[in-house]
Assembly symmetry: C2
Homo-oligomer: 197 residues x 2
DNA sequence: AAATACCGCTAACACGTGTTAGTTGATTAT
DNA sequence: ATAATCAACTAACACGTGTTAGCGGTATTT
């Protein structure tokens, strides 16, 4: 009876959650079955339930761990004493790096949150709405100080956040430019598009 | 025995495909059941099969009708005798309007194509890859003529296309700016981000 | 009016799903 | 060494899924 492999400091549950992220990204939450997940982990489906409560619990864990990281970063950036454009760029670079280095989780949180069940669903939608408002507020501050073009701030936020999810295509492409180049290109275009010339 | 209502020139199949688009957008292809669809159409699930071959056929129809519209527009724009920036802007505006006025279909084609079965899946992915290459080629031409900043063209394409899918959020938001304003804001930011100052 | 194609219904199937119960071997603590 | 906890297994269930068969009524054509 071979147990799930664990390095020290990585619980078996964390292994499962991590494999779930990969699977949910590849097939979508609904299409990924617990038997698929079990196979990926190297175990029978029923055995997973010694470590987790339900399939949806896996989705909660993924969605909220990502959401919390972003909210935490927002706290941090808002508190800094730098220009608004600098704040926007910092948030942008954070998003880009999250999407590059925590691809699976971030992607799943972005695309599959619809399948959350309802105390969690509303909660998650709320957190998102608040996050976007705070992002928009930074842009609006930038508009008032004339750093940023006169544009509709919520629209700008929506462009930023969705543009970043395009990094998915970068991950899948065979001829990738480097992560650093990708980051610089995205910043050039997006910050460039906002900045008042 | 009440039949599916049809205006003249709209076949019952088209009614089904259209309702399917809405449903697939709301719940995702895999989570949307034929019984759900039947209810939306006002009929029993089995009756749908008098008009369609399978659930996946609905997805084919949606995905390829959208893909064909974009490829057709690309043909048109490539042939025009205008600056590269103008071509980019035209393509962009077309994408934006498609996402505004054919929301359900375009959204489904964008997010749910993974669930296509394999002769269609590869076909669709191919068409996508080709479309993006042609888009990138326009941008590269713009870079050579110095209309466009020196950036990685595939990255620029990926930003454009994904930014536009953010219009989903606009559709869901309660306090919408007008469609025209949305279009102008997006063009300002995205074309502005590309153009050489 | 008769014939034919259309289109809805009910019933049912085979299968894949998430999950639970109960058990047994492996690991850890006393 | 013994006890206790952990984590794997097998078996099974209840249910939702896409889809088919076959029937009967309703439009449409002749």
């Amino acid at each position: 009876m071979a147990r799930i492999k664990t390095d020290k400091n990585i619980s078996r549950k964390e292994v499962i959650v991590s494999k779930a992220a990969t699977l949910f990204r590849e097939k979508g939450f609904k299409a990924a079955s617990m038997r698929d997940l079990a196979e990926a982990v190297g175990v029978e489906a029923a055995s997973l339930y010694n470590h987790i409560k339900s399939k949806t619990e896996l989705l909660h864990e993924l969605c909220f761990s990502v959401a919390n990281r972003f909210l935490h970063k927002m706290d941090e950036v808002e508190a800094e004493n730098i220009s608004n454009i600098a704040k926007i760029e910092k948030l942008l670079r954070f998003h880009i790096n999250e999407m590059i280095y925590h691809y699976e989780e971030v992607y799943v949180s972005d695309r599959e949150w619809k399948h959350l069940a309802d105390p969690y669903l509303s909660n998650f939608q709320n957190q998102r709405r608040i996050y976007r408002k705070r992002f928009a507020a930074v842009i609006e501050a930038g508009i008032r100080t004339k750093e940023v073009k006169k544009i509709d701030a919520p629209t700008a936020v929506l462009i930023m956040l969705h543009a970043i999810s395009g990094i998915e295509s970068w991950h899948r492409s065979t001829q990738k430019i480097s992560a650093a180049e990708l980051e610089e290109n995205m910043v050039t275009i997006l910050v460039g598009g906002l900045t008042n010339p």
